[in-house]
Amino acid sequence: MDRNVRAANRRTGLILLSIVLVFFVGAFAARMFGSPGVSIAVLGGAVVLFLVLAIGRNLRR
Protein backbone atom coordinates (compact mmCIF):
# COMPACT_ATOMS: atom_id res chain seq x y z
CA MET A 1 0.00 0.00 0.00
CA ASP A 2 1.25 3.45 -0.96
CA ARG A 3 2.76 5.56 1.86
CA ASN A 4 0.29 8.42 1.32
CA VAL A 5 -2.62 6.03 1.59
CA ARG A 6 -1.20 4.60 4.81
CA ALA A 7 -0.85 8.10 6.27
CA ALA A 8 -4.40 8.93 5.24
CA ASN A 9 -5.62 5.70 6.85
CA ARG A 10 -3.83 6.57 10.06
CA ARG A 11 -5.35 10.08 10.11
CA THR A 12 -8.85 8.75 9.54
CA GLY A 13 -8.37 6.05 12.17
CA LEU A 14 -7.14 8.54 14.76
CA ILE A 15 -10.03 10.93 14.13
CA LEU A 16 -12.48 8.06 14.60
CA LEU A 17 -10.68 6.94 17.76
CA SER A 18 -10.93 10.47 19.18
CA ILE A 19 -14.68 10.36 18.62
CA VAL A 20 -14.85 7.05 20.48
CA LEU A 21 -13.06 8.63 23.44
CA VAL A 22 -15.35 11.67 23.44
CA PHE A 23 -18.41 9.44 23.60
CA PHE A 24 -16.93 7.22 26.28
CA VAL A 25 -16.21 10.23 28.47
CA GLY A 26 -19.59 11.71 27.47
CA ALA A 27 -21.36 8.79 29.10
CA PHE A 28 -19.75 9.74 32.43
CA ALA A 29 -20.39 13.44 31.82
CA ALA A 30 -24.09 12.65 31.40
CA ARG A 31 -24.13 11.75 35.09
CA MET A 32 -22.40 14.97 36.08
CA PHE A 33 -24.71 17.32 34.12
CA GLY A 34 -27.60 16.28 36.31
CA SER A 35 -30.20 16.15 33.56
CA PRO A 36 -29.80 13.01 31.50
CA GLY A 37 -32.23 14.26 28.86
CA VAL A 38 -30.20 17.41 28.13
CA SER A 39 -26.79 15.77 28.29
CA ILE A 40 -27.72 12.92 26.02
CA ALA A 41 -29.48 15.26 23.62
CA VAL A 42 -26.20 17.17 23.38
CA LEU A 43 -24.35 13.94 22.66
CA GLY A 44 -27.01 12.97 20.11
CA GLY A 45 -26.66 16.34 18.40
CA ALA A 46 -22.91 15.82 18.21
CA VAL A 47 -23.46 12.47 16.51
CA VAL A 48 -25.81 13.95 13.94
CA LEU A 49 -23.40 16.80 13.20
CA PHE A 50 -20.55 14.32 12.91
CA LEU A 51 -22.48 12.08 10.54
CA VAL A 52 -23.44 14.99 8.31
CA LEU A 53 -19.91 16.45 8.24
CA ALA A 54 -18.02 13.19 7.87
CA ILE A 55 -20.16 11.85 5.04
CA GLY A 56 -20.79 15.25 3.48
CA ARG A 57 -17.06 15.94 3.11
CA ASN A 58 -16.60 12.85 1.01
CA LEU A 59 -19.75 12.97 -1.04
CA ARG A 60 -18.30 14.61 -4.14
CA ARG A 61 -15.11 12.56 -4.39
Binding site: V5, T12, L21, A41
Partner: protein
Protein backbone atom coordinates in the same frame (compact mmCIF):
# COMPACT_ATOMS: atom_id res chain seq x y z
CA UNK B 1 -26.61 3.94 -9.95
CA UNK B 2 -25.99 1.32 -7.38
CA UNK B 3 -23.66 -0.91 -9.26
CA UNK B 4 -20.93 -0.93 -11.81
CA UNK B 5 -21.63 -2.84 -15.02
CA UNK B 6 -18.65 -4.96 -15.99
CA UNK B 7 -18.06 -3.16 -19.25
CA UNK B 8 -17.34 -0.04 -17.22
CA UNK B 9 -14.51 -1.65 -15.27
CA UNK B 10 -10.99 -1.38 -16.66
CA UNK B 11 -8.31 -3.84 -15.60
CA UNK B 12 -8.97 -6.98 -13.64
CA UNK B 13 -8.96 -7.71 -9.98
CA UNK B 14 -7.02 -10.90 -9.62
CA UNK B 15 -3.52 -10.48 -8.34
CA UNK B 16 -1.32 -12.80 -10.26
CA UNK B 17 1.97 -13.31 -8.50
CA UNK B 18 3.02 -14.94 -11.75
CA UNK B 19 -0.17 -16.89 -12.05
CA UNK B 20 0.00 -18.99 -8.93
CA UNK B 21 -2.26 -17.31 -6.46
CA UNK B 22 -3.21 -20.57 -4.84
CA UNK B 23 0.41 -20.74 -3.64
CA UNK B 24 0.31 -17.26 -2.15
CA UNK B 25 2.68 -17.11 0.79
CA UNK B 26 0.89 -17.47 4.07
CA UNK B 27 1.13 -19.93 6.97
CA UNK B 28 -0.87 -23.10 6.76
CA UNK B 29 -2.87 -25.08 9.29
CA UNK B 30 -4.05 -23.47 12.51
CA UNK B 31 -1.41 -20.71 12.30
CA UNK B 32 -3.01 -19.48 9.09
CA UNK B 33 -6.17 -18.67 11.02
CA UNK B 34 -4.48 -17.29 14.12
CA UNK B 35 -2.06 -14.98 12.34
CA UNK B 36 -4.03 -14.13 9.24
CA UNK B 37 -4.44 -10.53 8.16
CA UNK B 38 -6.32 -11.44 4.99
CA UNK B 39 -9.81 -9.99 4.87
CA UNK B 40 -11.29 -13.15 3.37
CA UNK B 41 -9.82 -15.39 6.07
CA UNK B 42 -10.99 -13.01 8.79
CA UNK B 43 -14.42 -12.80 7.19
CA UNK B 44 -14.60 -16.59 7.26
CA UNK B 45 -13.57 -16.62 10.94
CA UNK B 46 -16.26 -14.09 11.80
CA UNK B 47 -18.93 -16.05 9.94
CA UNK B 48 -18.03 -19.37 11.61
CA UNK B 49 -17.90 -17.69 15.01
CA UNK B 50 -21.29 -16.15 14.35
CA UNK B 51 -22.78 -19.49 13.33
CA UNK B 52 -21.36 -21.19 16.42
CA UNK B 53 -22.83 -18.54 18.70
CA UNK B 54 -26.10 -18.74 16.79
CA UNK B 55 -26.36 -22.40 17.74
CA UNK B 56 -25.28 -21.70 21.35
CA UNK B 57 -27.92 -18.97 21.68
CA UNK B 58 -30.38 -21.23 19.87
CA UNK B 59 -29.94 -24.01 22.42
CA UNK B 60 -30.64 -21.46 25.17
CA UNK B 61 -33.78 -20.37 23.31
CA UNK B 62 -34.98 -23.96 22.95
CA UNK B 63 -34.43 -24.55 26.68
CA UNK B 64 -36.54 -21.46 27.40
CA UNK B 65 -39.26 -22.67 25.02
CA UNK B 66 -39.17 -26.19 26.49
CA UNK B 67 -39.69 -24.73 29.95
CA UNK B 68 -42.63 -22.70 28.65
CA UNK B 69 -44.31 -25.64 26.89
CA UNK B 70 -46.41 -26.20 30.03
CA UNK B 71 -47.38 -23.93 32.91
CA UNK B 72 -45.48 -24.76 36.10
CA UNK B 73 -41.77 -25.38 36.54
CA UNK B 74 -40.34 -28.46 34.85
CA UNK B 75 -36.85 -28.19 33.37
CA UNK B 76 -34.89 -25.30 34.95
CA UNK B 77 -35.23 -23.33 38.15
CA UNK B 78 -36.48 -19.72 37.91
CA UNK B 79 -33.07 -18.08 38.53
CA UNK B 80 -31.45 -20.14 35.81
CA UNK B 81 -34.37 -19.35 33.49
CA UNK B 82 -33.75 -15.64 34.01
CA UNK B 83 -30.06 -16.21 33.32
CA UNK B 84 -30.94 -18.00 30.10
CA UNK B 85 -33.08 -15.10 28.86
CA UNK B 86 -30.20 -12.70 29.63
CA UNK B 87 -27.55 -14.79 27.94
CA UNK B 88 -29.75 -15.73 24.97
CA UNK B 89 -30.18 -12.02 24.22
CA UNK B 90 -26.54 -11.09 24.70
CA UNK B 91 -25.21 -14.12 22.82
CA UNK B 92 -27.52 -13.55 19.86
CA UNK B 93 -26.89 -9.81 19.63
CA UNK B 94 -23.18 -9.56 20.43
CA UNK B 95 -22.12 -13.09 19.49
CA UNK B 96 -24.22 -14.04 16.47
CA UNK B 97 -25.80 -11.08 14.66
CA UNK B 98 -23.09 -8.42 15.00
CA UNK B 99 -20.13 -10.69 14.18
CA UNK B 100 -22.17 -12.18 11.32
CA UNK B 101 -22.62 -8.72 9.83
CA UNK B 102 -18.90 -7.98 10.29
CA UNK B 103 -18.10 -11.28 8.57
CA UNK B 104 -20.05 -10.18 5.50
CA UNK B 105 -18.34 -6.79 5.67
CA UNK B 106 -14.87 -8.33 5.81
CA UNK B 107 -15.50 -10.61 2.88
CA UNK B 108 -17.41 -8.28 0.63
CA UNK B 109 -16.48 -4.62 1.21
CA UNK B 110 -12.91 -4.81 -0.18
CA UNK B 111 -14.11 -6.88 -3.13
CA UNK B 112 -17.03 -4.54 -3.85
CA UNK B 113 -14.98 -1.33 -3.76
CA UNK B 114 -11.91 -2.76 -5.53
CA UNK B 115 -9.58 -2.61 -2.49
CA UNK B 116 -6.80 -5.13 -1.85
CA UNK B 117 -7.70 -5.62 1.83
CA UNK B 118 -8.99 -3.75 4.87
CA UNK B 119 -7.15 -0.55 5.79
CA UNK B 120 -5.77 -1.88 9.09
CA UNK B 121 -5.17 -5.55 8.41
CA UNK B 122 -3.43 -6.39 11.71
CA UNK B 123 -6.09 -4.63 13.74
CA UNK B 124 -8.63 -6.63 11.79
CA UNK B 125 -7.05 -9.84 13.07
CA UNK B 126 -7.02 -8.49 16.62
CA UNK B 127 -10.64 -7.38 16.52
CA UNK B 128 -11.71 -10.89 15.57
CA UNK B 129 -9.54 -12.74 18.07
CA UNK B 130 -10.93 -10.72 20.98
CA UNK B 131 -14.33 -12.24 20.34
CA UNK B 132 -13.82 -15.89 21.30
CA UNK B 133 -12.40 -14.80 24.68
CA UNK B 134 -15.36 -12.51 25.26
CA UNK B 135 -17.74 -15.31 24.31
CA UNK B 136 -16.09 -17.69 26.78
CA UNK B 137 -16.40 -15.07 29.54
CA UNK B 138 -20.05 -14.48 28.70
CA UNK B 139 -21.09 -18.12 28.54
CA UNK B 140 -19.03 -19.09 31.59
CA UNK B 141 -21.03 -16.59 33.66
CA UNK B 142 -23.63 -19.38 33.74
CA UNK B 143 -21.39 -21.43 35.98
CA UNK B 144 -20.32 -18.74 38.45
CA UNK B 145 -21.39 -18.63 42.11
CA UNK B 146 -24.76 -16.91 42.18
CA UNK B 147 -25.58 -18.17 38.69
CA UNK B 148 -25.84 -16.25 35.46
CA UNK B 149 -27.01 -12.62 35.53
CA UNK B 150 -30.78 -12.63 35.75
CA UNK B 151 -31.34 -9.07 34.60
CA UNK B 152 -32.26 -9.56 30.97
CA UNK B 153 -29.90 -8.28 28.24
CA UNK B 154 -30.63 -4.68 29.34
CA UNK B 155 -28.77 -5.29 32.65
CA UNK B 156 -30.78 -2.62 34.48
CA UNK B 157 -29.71 -1.60 37.98
CA UNK B 158 -30.42 -2.03 40.82
CA UNK B 159 -30.60 -5.79 40.03
CA UNK B 160 -27.36 -5.70 38.03
CA UNK B 161 -25.60 -3.95 40.94
CA UNK B 162 -26.67 -6.75 43.26
CA UNK B 163 -26.21 -9.82 41.01
CA UNK B 164 -23.40 -12.30 41.66
CA UNK B 165 -20.03 -12.75 39.99
CA UNK B 166 -21.65 -13.77 36.71
CA UNK B 167 -22.51 -10.09 36.20
CA UNK B 168 -18.83 -9.12 36.38
CA UNK B 169 -17.98 -11.61 33.67
CA UNK B 170 -20.86 -10.28 31.58
CA UNK B 171 -19.62 -6.71 32.01
CA UNK B 172 -16.08 -7.68 30.98
CA UNK B 173 -17.44 -9.61 28.01
CA UNK B 174 -19.43 -6.54 26.91
CA UNK B 175 -16.29 -4.39 27.25
CA UNK B 176 -14.25 -6.75 25.09
CA UNK B 177 -16.93 -7.21 22.46
CA UNK B 178 -17.43 -3.44 22.37
CA UNK B 179 -13.71 -2.88 21.82
CA UNK B 180 -13.80 -5.44 19.02
CA UNK B 181 -16.77 -3.70 17.39
CA UNK B 182 -15.12 -0.28 17.64
CA UNK B 183 -11.92 -1.54 16.03
CA UNK B 184 -13.93 -3.23 13.30
CA UNK B 185 -15.87 -0.01 12.64
CA UNK B 186 -12.75 2.14 12.43
CA UNK B 187 -11.40 -0.34 9.93
CA UNK B 188 -14.54 -0.38 7.80
CA UNK B 189 -14.95 3.40 7.67
CA UNK B 190 -11.28 3.94 6.84
CA UNK B 191 -11.37 1.24 4.16
CA UNK B 192 -14.44 2.68 2.49
CA UNK B 193 -13.30 6.30 2.65
CA UNK B 194 -9.68 5.76 1.60
CA UNK B 195 -9.37 2.58 -0.42
CA UNK B 196 -12.11 2.79 -3.04
CA UNK B 197 -11.01 2.05 -6.62
CA UNK B 198 -10.38 5.11 -8.78
CA UNK B 199 -13.67 6.30 -10.24
CA UNK B 200 -15.81 4.69 -7.57
CA UNK B 201 -17.40 7.74 -6.03
CA UNK B 202 -19.44 7.27 -2.88
CA UNK B 203 -22.62 7.52 -4.93
CA UNK B 204 -21.44 4.68 -7.17
CA UNK B 205 -20.76 2.37 -4.24
CA UNK B 206 -22.84 -0.80 -3.85
CA UNK B 207 -25.60 -0.28 -1.32
CA UNK B 208 -24.18 -2.99 0.95
CA UNK B 209 -21.07 -0.81 1.43
CA UNK B 210 -23.22 2.26 2.06
CA UNK B 211 -25.23 0.38 4.65
CA UNK B 212 -22.05 -0.69 6.39
CA UNK B 213 -20.49 2.79 6.24
CA UNK B 214 -23.49 4.18 8.10
CA UNK B 215 -23.62 1.22 10.48
CA UNK B 216 -19.95 1.71 11.36
CA UNK B 217 -20.58 5.38 12.19
CA UNK B 218 -23.43 4.32 14.45
CA UNK B 219 -21.16 1.82 16.18
CA UNK B 220 -18.43 4.41 16.69
CA UNK B 221 -20.94 6.69 18.39
CA UNK B 222 -22.83 4.27 20.60
CA UNK B 223 -20.47 1.48 21.63
CA UNK B 224 -18.35 3.84 23.78
CA UNK B 225 -21.54 4.99 25.50
CA UNK B 226 -22.41 1.39 26.41
CA UNK B 227 -18.83 0.87 27.54
CA UNK B 228 -19.17 3.94 29.77
CA UNK B 229 -22.45 2.67 31.21
CA UNK B 230 -21.12 -0.77 32.10
CA UNK B 231 -17.92 0.76 33.50
CA UNK B 232 -20.04 2.86 35.85
CA UNK B 233 -21.98 -0.27 36.73
CA UNK B 234 -18.73 -2.01 37.54
CA UNK B 235 -17.54 0.82 39.78
CA UNK B 236 -20.93 0.85 41.52
CA UNK B 237 -20.52 -2.86 42.19
CA UNK B 238 -16.94 -2.84 43.41
CA UNK B 239 -15.58 0.64 44.08
CA UNK B 240 -18.28 2.24 46.21
CA UNK B 241 -19.54 4.74 43.63
CA UNK B 242 -23.23 5.53 43.27
CA UNK B 243 -23.83 6.34 39.64
CA UNK B 244 -26.95 4.20 39.55
CA UNK B 245 -27.36 3.10 43.14
CA UNK B 246 -30.31 5.02 44.58
CA UNK B 247 -29.22 4.17 48.13
CA UNK B 248 -26.09 6.29 47.60
CA UNK B 249 -27.82 9.12 45.72
CA UNK B 250 -27.49 7.56 42.27
CA UNK B 251 -30.13 7.42 39.55
CA UNK B 252 -31.16 4.00 38.19
CA UNK B 253 -33.23 5.66 35.45
CA UNK B 254 -30.07 7.36 34.16
CA UNK B 255 -28.76 3.90 33.32
CA UNK B 256 -31.86 3.30 31.23
CA UNK B 257 -31.27 6.57 29.34
CA UNK B 258 -27.64 5.72 28.66
CA UNK B 259 -28.37 2.10 27.85
CA UNK B 260 -31.09 2.94 25.33
CA UNK B 261 -28.99 5.73 23.82
CA UNK B 262 -26.87 2.74 22.80
CA UNK B 263 -29.67 0.18 22.59
CA UNK B 264 -31.95 1.76 20.05
CA UNK B 265 -29.26 2.57 17.46
CA UNK B 266 -28.06 -0.99 18.14
CA UNK B 267 -31.25 -2.24 16.50
CA UNK B 268 -30.26 -0.38 13.34
CA UNK B 269 -26.64 -1.47 13.69
CA UNK B 270 -27.97 -4.99 13.32
CA UNK B 271 -30.58 -4.35 10.67
CA UNK B 272 -28.83 -1.86 8.34
CA UNK B 273 -26.26 -4.40 7.05
CA UNK B 274 -29.25 -6.68 6.42
CA UNK B 275 -30.84 -3.87 4.37
CA UNK B 276 -27.57 -3.70 2.43
CA UNK B 277 -27.60 -7.42 1.67
CA UNK B 278 -31.25 -7.30 0.57
CA UNK B 279 -30.44 -4.33 -1.66
CA UNK B 280 -27.85 -6.50 -3.44
CA UNK B 281 -30.03 -9.60 -3.76
CA UNK B 282 -33.29 -8.09 -5.03
CA UNK B 283 -31.81 -6.28 -8.08
CA UNK B 284 -29.74 -9.34 -8.99
CA UNK B 285 -32.68 -11.74 -8.99
CA UNK B 286 -35.03 -9.18 -10.56
CA UNK B 287 -32.40 -8.54 -13.25
CA UNK B 288 -32.91 -4.81 -12.92
CA UNK B 289 -30.86 -2.03 -11.33
CA UNK B 290 -32.00 -1.00 -7.87
CA UNK B 291 -34.89 1.45 -8.06
CA UNK B 292 -34.12 4.84 -6.50
CA UNK B 293 -30.48 4.30 -5.51
CA UNK B 294 -29.97 7.86 -4.20
CA UNK B 295 -33.18 7.76 -2.19
CA UNK B 296 -32.04 4.46 -0.67
CA UNK B 297 -28.82 6.11 0.51
CA UNK B 298 -30.69 9.09 1.94
CA UNK B 299 -33.20 6.76 3.61
CA UNK B 300 -30.35 4.83 5.26
CA UNK B 301 -28.87 8.08 6.53
CA UNK B 302 -32.25 9.31 7.76
CA UNK B 303 -32.88 6.06 9.63
CA UNK B 304 -29.44 6.34 11.26
CA UNK B 305 -29.98 9.96 12.33
CA UNK B 306 -33.49 9.31 13.63
CA UNK B 307 -32.27 6.27 15.56
CA UNK B 308 -30.40 8.65 17.88
CA UNK B 309 -33.44 10.65 18.93
CA UNK B 310 -35.96 7.96 19.79
CA UNK B 311 -34.29 6.03 22.62
CA UNK B 312 -36.81 6.94 25.31
CA UNK B 313 -39.66 5.09 23.57
CA UNK B 314 -38.19 2.12 25.46
CA UNK B 315 -38.92 4.04 28.68
CA UNK B 316 -42.53 5.14 28.30
CA UNK B 317 -43.39 3.63 31.69
CA UNK B 318 -40.65 5.40 33.65
CA UNK B 319 -42.63 8.59 34.26
CA UNK B 320 -41.33 10.82 31.49
CA UNK B 321 -42.89 14.29 31.16
CA UNK B 322 -45.77 14.51 28.67
CA UNK B 323 -43.81 16.70 26.25
CA UNK B 324 -41.00 14.12 26.12
CA UNK B 325 -43.47 11.32 25.55
CA UNK B 326 -45.04 13.18 22.62
CA UNK B 327 -41.63 13.96 21.14
CA UNK B 328 -40.36 10.37 21.36
CA UNK B 329 -43.67 8.99 20.11
CA UNK B 330 -43.74 11.12 16.97
CA UNK B 331 -39.99 10.80 16.32
CA UNK B 332 -40.37 7.02 16.48
CA UNK B 333 -43.25 7.08 14.04
CA UNK B 334 -41.15 9.24 11.73
CA UNK B 335 -38.73 6.32 11.22
CA UNK B 336 -41.49 4.58 9.29
CA UNK B 337 -41.04 7.16 6.50
CA UNK B 338 -37.46 6.31 5.40
CA UNK B 339 -38.12 2.64 6.14
CA UNK B 340 -41.20 2.85 3.93
CA UNK B 341 -39.07 4.43 1.18
CA UNK B 342 -36.78 1.40 1.31
CA UNK B 343 -39.61 -1.13 1.20
CA UNK B 344 -41.23 0.80 -1.67
CA UNK B 345 -37.95 0.86 -3.62
CA UNK B 346 -37.38 -2.87 -3.15
CA UNK B 347 -40.89 -3.54 -4.44
CA UNK B 348 -40.40 -1.11 -7.33
CA UNK B 349 -37.14 -2.89 -8.21
CA UNK B 350 -39.05 -6.14 -8.58
CA UNK B 351 -41.85 -4.49 -10.55
CA UNK B 352 -41.74 -5.81 -14.13
CA UNK B 353 -38.41 -7.49 -13.37
CA UNK B 354 -37.46 -10.91 -14.68
CA UNK B 355 -37.67 -12.50 -11.25
CA UNK B 356 -36.29 -15.93 -10.41
CA UNK B 357 -36.74 -17.55 -7.04
CA UNK B 358 -33.42 -19.06 -6.00
CA UNK B 359 -32.75 -19.34 -2.24
CA UNK B 360 -31.23 -15.84 -1.83
CA UNK B 361 -34.33 -14.29 -3.40
CA UNK B 362 -36.66 -16.47 -1.35
CA UNK B 363 -34.98 -15.26 1.82
CA UNK B 364 -35.10 -11.65 0.54
CA UNK B 365 -38.85 -11.95 -0.07
CA UNK B 366 -39.30 -13.61 3.34
CA UNK B 367 -37.36 -10.73 4.85
CA UNK B 368 -39.48 -8.16 3.05
CA UNK B 369 -42.77 -9.64 4.22
CA UNK B 370 -41.82 -10.47 7.80
CA UNK B 371 -39.65 -7.41 8.49
CA UNK B 372 -42.52 -5.21 7.36
CA UNK B 373 -44.79 -7.03 9.84
CA UNK B 374 -42.21 -6.43 12.58
CA UNK B 375 -42.04 -2.78 11.56
CA UNK B 376 -45.82 -2.44 11.84
CA UNK B 377 -45.86 -3.85 15.37
CA UNK B 378 -43.06 -1.41 16.14
CA UNK B 379 -45.37 1.40 15.08
CA UNK B 380 -48.05 0.00 17.38
CA UNK B 381 -45.57 0.01 20.26
CA UNK B 382 -44.55 3.58 19.42
CA UNK B 383 -48.00 4.76 20.49
CA UNK B 384 -47.43 5.50 24.16
CA UNK B 385 -50.91 4.66 25.54
CA UNK B 386 -50.69 1.25 23.86
CA UNK B 387 -47.06 0.74 24.84
CA UNK B 388 -47.97 1.20 28.50
CA UNK B 389 -50.28 -1.82 28.14
CA UNK B 390 -47.79 -3.93 26.19
CA UNK B 391 -44.67 -3.09 28.22
CA UNK B 392 -42.84 -6.30 29.13
CA UNK B 393 -45.39 -8.59 27.48
CA UNK B 394 -44.88 -11.19 24.80
CA UNK B 395 -46.12 -8.67 22.21
CA UNK B 396 -42.73 -6.96 22.55
CA UNK B 397 -40.95 -10.32 22.26
CA UNK B 398 -42.87 -11.06 19.05
CA UNK B 399 -42.10 -7.59 17.67
CA UNK B 400 -38.36 -7.68 18.09
CA UNK B 401 -38.01 -11.27 16.92
CA UNK B 402 -39.80 -10.32 13.70
CA UNK B 403 -37.19 -7.58 13.27
CA UNK B 404 -34.10 -9.47 14.45
CA UNK B 405 -34.76 -13.00 13.19
CA UNK B 406 -37.05 -12.59 10.19
CA UNK B 407 -35.31 -9.33 9.39
CA UNK B 408 -31.62 -9.65 10.00
CA UNK B 409 -31.15 -13.40 10.17
CA UNK B 410 -33.15 -14.07 7.00
CA UNK B 411 -31.04 -11.47 5.22
CA UNK B 412 -27.87 -13.19 6.47
CA UNK B 413 -29.14 -16.55 5.20
CA UNK B 414 -29.95 -14.95 1.84
CA UNK B 415 -26.54 -13.26 1.75
CA UNK B 416 -24.79 -16.53 2.55
CA UNK B 417 -26.50 -18.36 -0.33
CA UNK B 418 -25.90 -15.36 -2.60
CA UNK B 419 -22.14 -15.17 -2.03
CA UNK B 420 -21.40 -18.81 -1.14
CA UNK B 421 -20.43 -19.63 -4.77
CA UNK B 422 -17.95 -16.72 -4.71
CA UNK B 423 -16.54 -17.79 -1.34
CA UNK B 424 -16.24 -21.52 -1.97
CA UNK B 425 -16.12 -21.89 -5.75
CA UNK B 426 -19.05 -24.33 -5.60
CA UNK B 427 -22.77 -23.98 -6.12
CA UNK B 428 -24.88 -24.85 -3.11
CA UNK B 429 -27.64 -27.47 -3.18
CA UNK B 430 -30.65 -25.43 -4.30
CA UNK B 431 -33.20 -28.02 -3.25
CA UNK B 432 -31.91 -28.24 0.32
CA UNK B 433 -31.60 -24.45 0.49
CA UNK B 434 -35.26 -24.16 -0.55
CA UNK B 435 -36.15 -26.64 2.21
CA UNK B 436 -34.18 -24.49 4.62
CA UNK B 437 -36.13 -21.43 3.56
CA UNK B 438 -39.58 -22.99 3.80
CA UNK B 439 -38.75 -24.68 7.12
CA UNK B 440 -37.47 -21.41 8.54
CA UNK B 441 -40.34 -19.32 7.16
CA UNK B 442 -43.15 -21.59 8.32
CA UNK B 443 -41.73 -22.53 11.72
CA UNK B 444 -40.64 -18.96 12.45
CA UNK B 445 -44.24 -17.83 12.10
CA UNK B 446 -45.52 -20.80 14.11
CA UNK B 447 -43.08 -19.88 16.88
CA UNK B 448 -43.48 -16.12 16.99
CA UNK B 449 -46.87 -15.13 15.61
CA UNK B 450 -48.75 -16.63 18.60
CA UNK B 451 -46.65 -14.42 20.88
CA UNK B 452 -48.66 -11.45 19.60
CA UNK B 453 -51.81 -13.10 20.95
CA UNK B 454 -50.09 -13.98 24.23
CA UNK B 455 -48.90 -10.40 24.63
CA UNK B 456 -52.31 -8.98 23.79
CA UNK B 457 -53.77 -11.26 26.45
CA UNK B 458 -51.24 -9.91 28.93
CA UNK B 459 -48.65 -12.67 29.32
CA UNK B 460 -45.50 -11.12 30.84
CA UNK B 461 -42.05 -11.86 29.39
CA UNK B 462 -39.04 -13.25 31.33
CA UNK B 463 -41.26 -15.40 33.58
CA UNK B 464 -40.71 -19.21 33.72
CA UNK B 465 -44.28 -19.96 34.77
CA UNK B 466 -47.61 -18.60 33.55
CA UNK B 467 -51.34 -18.73 34.05
CA UNK B 468 -53.29 -21.68 32.65
CA UNK B 469 -55.12 -19.67 29.95
CA UNK B 470 -51.85 -19.03 28.05
CA UNK B 471 -51.06 -22.74 27.63
CA UNK B 472 -52.32 -23.44 24.08
CA UNK B 473 -50.44 -20.69 22.29
CA UNK B 474 -47.31 -21.43 24.32
CA UNK B 475 -47.42 -25.05 23.15
CA UNK B 476 -47.80 -23.94 19.53
CA UNK B 477 -44.93 -21.51 19.98
CA UNK B 478 -42.65 -24.17 21.44
CA UNK B 479 -43.39 -26.59 18.58
CA UNK B 480 -42.56 -23.80 16.12
CA UNK B 481 -39.32 -22.97 17.93
CA UNK B 482 -38.10 -26.56 17.75
CA UNK B 483 -39.08 -26.75 14.08
CA UNK B 484 -37.17 -23.53 13.40
CA UNK B 485 -34.14 -24.87 15.29
CA UNK B 486 -34.14 -28.13 13.32
CA UNK B 487 -34.43 -26.21 10.04
CA UNK B 488 -31.12 -24.52 10.84
CA UNK B 489 -29.38 -27.90 10.79
CA UNK B 490 -30.22 -28.00 7.07
CA UNK B 491 -28.40 -24.68 6.70
CA UNK B 492 -25.33 -26.02 8.48
CA UNK B 493 -25.37 -29.13 6.27
CA UNK B 494 -25.73 -27.11 3.05
CA UNK B 495 -22.83 -24.81 3.97
CA UNK B 496 -20.50 -27.69 4.85
CA UNK B 497 -21.53 -29.63 1.74
CA UNK B 498 -20.84 -26.59 -0.46
CA UNK B 499 -17.42 -26.03 1.07
CA UNK B 500 -16.49 -29.67 0.54
CA UNK B 501 -17.47 -29.82 -3.11
CA UNK B 502 -20.27 -29.66 -5.63
CA UNK B 503 -20.89 -28.17 -9.01
CA UNK B 504 -18.19 -25.66 -9.98
CA UNK B 505 -19.38 -22.07 -9.71
CA UNK B 506 -18.64 -19.70 -12.59
CA UNK B 507 -17.23 -16.23 -11.89
CA UNK B 508 -20.71 -14.82 -12.16
CA UNK B 509 -23.28 -17.44 -11.14
CA UNK B 510 -26.19 -14.98 -11.10
CA UNK B 511 -27.23 -13.27 -14.35
CA UNK B 512 -28.06 -10.01 -12.66
CA UNK B 513 -24.93 -9.57 -10.49
CA UNK B 514 -23.55 -6.11 -11.26
CA UNK B 515 -21.00 -5.39 -8.55
CA UNK B 516 -17.20 -5.76 -8.72
CA UNK B 517 -16.94 -9.09 -6.89
CA UNK B 518 -18.53 -10.82 -9.88
CA UNK B 519 -15.58 -9.77 -12.08
CA UNK B 520 -13.38 -12.09 -9.98
CA UNK B 521 -13.12 -15.84 -10.48
CA UNK B 522 -14.88 -18.22 -8.09
CA UNK B 523 -13.62 -18.98 -5.51
CA UNK B 524 -12.20 -15.49 -5.05
CA UNK B 525 -8.38 -15.75 -5.08
CA UNK B 526 -6.52 -15.17 -1.82
CA UNK B 527 -5.32 -11.75 -2.99
CA UNK B 528 -7.55 -9.55 -5.10
CA UNK B 529 -7.45 -6.02 -6.48
CA UNK B 530 -3.83 -5.32 -5.48
CA UNK B 531 -3.88 -3.21 -8.63
CA UNK B 532 -7.19 -1.44 -8.30
CA UNK B 533 -9.58 -1.50 -11.23
CA UNK B 534 -10.67 1.79 -12.71
CA UNK B 535 -14.38 2.35 -12.55
CA UNK B 536 -15.56 4.55 -15.42
Amino acid sequence: MSSVPHDQVAGHGVTEPHGHDEHAHHPTGIMRWITTTNHKDIGTLYLWFSMTMFFVGGIMALTIRAELFHPGLQIVDPEFFNGLTTLHGLVMIFGALMPGAVGFANWMIPMQIGAPDMAFARMNNWSFWLLPFAAVLLVSSMFMPGGPPGTGWTIYPPLSVENGMGMDLTIFAIHIMGASSIMGSINIITTILNLRAPGMTLMKMPLFCWAWLITAYLLIAVMPVLAGAVTMLLTDRHFGTSFFNAAGGGDPVLFQHIFWFFGHPEVYIIVLPAFGIISEIIPTFSRKPLFGYASMVYALSAIAILSFIVWAHHMFTTGLPSASILFYMYATMLIAVPTGVKVFNWLATMWKGSISLEAPMLFALGFLFLFTLGGFTGLVLAIQPIDVQFQDTYYVVAHFHYVMVAGTLFAFFGGTYYWLPKWTGHMYDEKLADWHFWGSFIFFNVAFFPMHFLGLAGMPRRIPDYAQQFTDWNMVSTVGAFGFGLSQLIFLYVVIKTIRGGEKAPAKPWDGGMTLEWTLPSPAPYHTFEHPPTVK
